[in-house]
């Protein structure tokens, strides 16, 4: 089978790459440096080719050194263009990315077409070939990964400050520029480690995609860093595993596709921020809202002598088709708020309580808006309507306390005569 020593080596290498780029990607993405990683990686190509041309060596450390130098030069040029000319950041990024890459292509084809050497080892840097990882390469990767991880661990607080409150960071006495440079340096290292297996064109995705996926699972930075690192490692391993099935296919694109799949799954199923969770929350809200509207319509139609209300009347009041009102009534009956009697319904004890609460929250909110002079009396109904559904009993209680503390006494419906709030107590 494929579980031989070589494969284990390759697997370990891609695990490392994934974990490193995932971990650091979390910071890169939050600091909005993700596309800079892309530019950096493309800019590394001429460095690889030049290193080979000068040394005639295909040893990974040599090539990576060349890559690092030209990548850093590229990023410095971007900074200089943005700072000293009218060219904006996006164009500067695009220019450096494509021109450096063009230069890289010129050098690669030159090496390929002249007799200097066998270039077959270099083009793996374009799309990545994890299978070419040998033991010595693994050592290099290990060292760099461990360095990156240690740096992340040591400077976690500084990075956190940089991302969320750069001014606070400066106030604490750290130079924002130094921390930013440190982060950039780590991004450089990470990109370089991934070059061999993922390639210059797609390595940026290993920084961006796992981190963006992790963002859906949590709001806490350290959790996000962890999730992103683990996701990255899994993507790396799975990418290598999958591409081992079809050896012709370069590993980089496969890893990126696996990462994209992980991103899409996260988008779908992540709790709270995920699309499904959001949709369910919206649906629950809508149901609640409809139920509360139903109760208010019921109260409006109910009279002293007649406790039952016909569903057709409710449909008219709610301006909804009858079938939907019927469905709503059935659902409310299941919740124990109403009891159904053949095309009509009446509120149960529980239903009355809920209805009272709804009416009260509507009224309280109206009074609050008027009292605080936020809106005029004849303008408060609609906003109150929108907000009443999300008022929890705790908020209602607070509203009551606020109005009570200000010595406001509520009398009846704000829209009817002889009602309104009046001040009681000391002022008068």
């Amino acid at each position: 089978m494929i579980w031989d020593a070589t494969f284990q080596l390759v697997l370990l290498g891609s695990l490392l790459i994934g974990a490193t780029s995932g971990t650091l990607g979390a910071f890169a993405v939050l600091r909005r440096r993700s596309l800079l990683g892309d530019a950096l990686a493309h800019a590394a190509l001429p460095g690889v080719a030049l290193a080979f041309l000068w040394t005639q060596s295909k040893a990974l450390p040599v090539l990576l050194l060349g890559a690092t130098v030209s990548g850093v030069v590229g990023v410095l040029i971007i900074e200089a263009i943005v700072n000293y000319t009218r060219i904006k950041a996006d164009a500067a990024l695009g220019i450096v990315l494509s021109v450096f890459f063009g230069g890289g292509i010129v050098l690669l084809t030159h090496i390929q077409q002249s007799e200097v050497g066998n270039q077959s080892g270099l083009d793996k840097f374009l799309f990545g070939q994890a299978a070419s990882i040998v033991r010595a390469d693994l050592y290099v990767m290990c060292i760099v990964s461990v360095l990156v991880m240690i740096a992340v661990f040591l400077f976690y607080k500084e990075f956190k400050g940089l991302i969320f409150d750069a001014e606070f960071l400066s106030a604490l006495g750290f130079s924002q520029r130094v921390v930013d440079l440190l982060l950039m340096g780590l991004i450089v290292l990470t990109v370089m480690v991934g070059l061999q297996a993922v390639g210059v064109i797609l390595i940026a995705a290993m920084l961006i995609t796992p981190a963006a996926a992790a963002r859906f699972w949590t709001d806490r930075l350290h959790v996000m860093v962890l999730v992103s690192g683990i996701l990255g490692a899994l993507c790396g391993a799975m990418g290598v595993g999958l591409s081992a099935l079809a050896p012709r296919i370069p590993t980089g694109p496969v890893m990126v596709l696996v990462a994209t799949a992980a991103f899409l799954v996260s988008v779908l199923i992540a709790p709270r921020r995920g699309v499904l969770a959001r949709r369910m929350r919206l649906r629950a809200n809508a149901l609640r809202e409809n139920g509360q509207h139903f109760l208010r319509a019921y109260l409006a139609l109910q009279t002293q002598d007649k406790q039952k209300v016909v569903l057709v009347d409710l449909a008219g009041e709610l301006q909804l088709p009858l079938y939907r009102v019927r469905r709503l009534a059935k659902r409310l009956a299941r919740d124990g708020w109403v009891s159904l009697h053949n095309g009509a319904c009446s509120l149960t004890e529980l239903g009355h309580k809920e209805a009272d609460f709804v009416v009260k929250s509507h009224q309280l909110w109206e009074y609050y808006l008027v009292y605080r002079s936020i809106l005029e009396e004849d303008h408060v109904d609609r906003p109150a309507d929108e907000v009443e559904h999300i008022l929890t009993p705790e908020i209602i209680e607070q509203l009551e306390t606020i109005l009570a503390e200000e010595d406001i006494d509520i009398v009846g419906d704000i829209h009817k005569a002889h009602s309104g709030y009046r001040r009681t107590g000391k002022d008068e």
Partner: protein, 424 residues
Amino acid sequence: MSEFWGPFWIVLAGALAGASCGLLGAYLVLRKMSLLGDALSHAVLPGIVIAFLLSGSRDVIPMFIGAAICGVIATVLIETFHRRWRVQEDSSIGIAFTALFALGVVLITAFAGQVDLDQECVLYGEIAYTPWDRLFWGEWDLGPRPIWILGTVFALNLAFVLVFYKELLIASFDAEMALSVGVSAALVHYMLMGAVSVTTVAAFESVGAILVVAMLIVPGASAYLWSDRLKVILTLSALMGVISAIAGYFLAGVWNSSIAGAMVVVMGFLFALSLIFAPHYGVLGRFVRQVRLSLKVARDHVLLKLLRERESQRVSALSWGDLVDTAARWVSGIAIRSLMWQGLITRENGHFSLGEQGVIHATRLLRNHRLWESYLNQIGLPPDHVHDPADALEHFTDDRLREEIRAALPNIATDPQGKRIPEG
């Protein structure tokens, strides 16, 4: 292929691609949409590959359809990630185009036997094969196929830019104004994106997916450094595309390398030249302007110093050491020499004094300074705070402004410190 026609077709293909991309690229740069161009050119790859797989040929029509569909998918994905799923914008772009590009590469390698396409074509393009890739009408040989494709696209782009010149101009510079005169900025945006997609696909075969980005952005950005006028920017941008094609072809011969890559390197070189030598926005131009400005300030200060000295102590000459501004010795030295050369100041026995013309100049400056001090004082600045701002403003005050300030002040003879405001 003859000695002349082979290179001619290749250069023509490159020039057409460069000019087509350059025309649109100028707008991308102006509208800060360079990265969208980048993303789009990567993202159309799977569409092109699938079109190849399904049609089994290099027909243009399926290729355009496939690429167009992919382009739309990419745009929709980016919008969905960003607006609906609230992923940051840069990450959205990054995720969408890398995913689609990865898909394209996997498809190419997985079906390598069945498609007449390989990784190299994606990266370098096949511009070198232009002369041999013929278009036939029945039995008739109509010439190289890429020329026809790129020529058509160039004509379309040129027509697009000419016909919608005003709309593109307004929508690019002032979206609100566009709305008020009835130009839909959104429609212009989508038309531009459509044109970029078509151009990308047309250029793809010749120069590859990634180098298209360079053709789109680099000439546009270079031209943007030379001028503020859209017409000039467009012309320059297209022209630089053409120049790069010609120079790139010959350089590729010298370097024995990919032609498309060499074209991009030339573009980068042209950009670097623009960056340095562009008159107004170039680094050199800015430097010269800065030097001239500090020289002017230094000259003014020398003249003022001599005049003030003459006014207060009745000493009309100062030694070099007294005159030179120790904080900017170098500029100050040049300023003194240039003033001497123009005869505004004279030197006798190592001491400098104002010449006849120098007195006039210096008096005007002193008048500026003291008028400004009075004016600043009148609008509420305390007398001990007016000197520094007046010091900065005195250099940039011409005759008209000076008299306007004079008119805005009550009839006074002295500045807030009680010094006489000279006439002049």
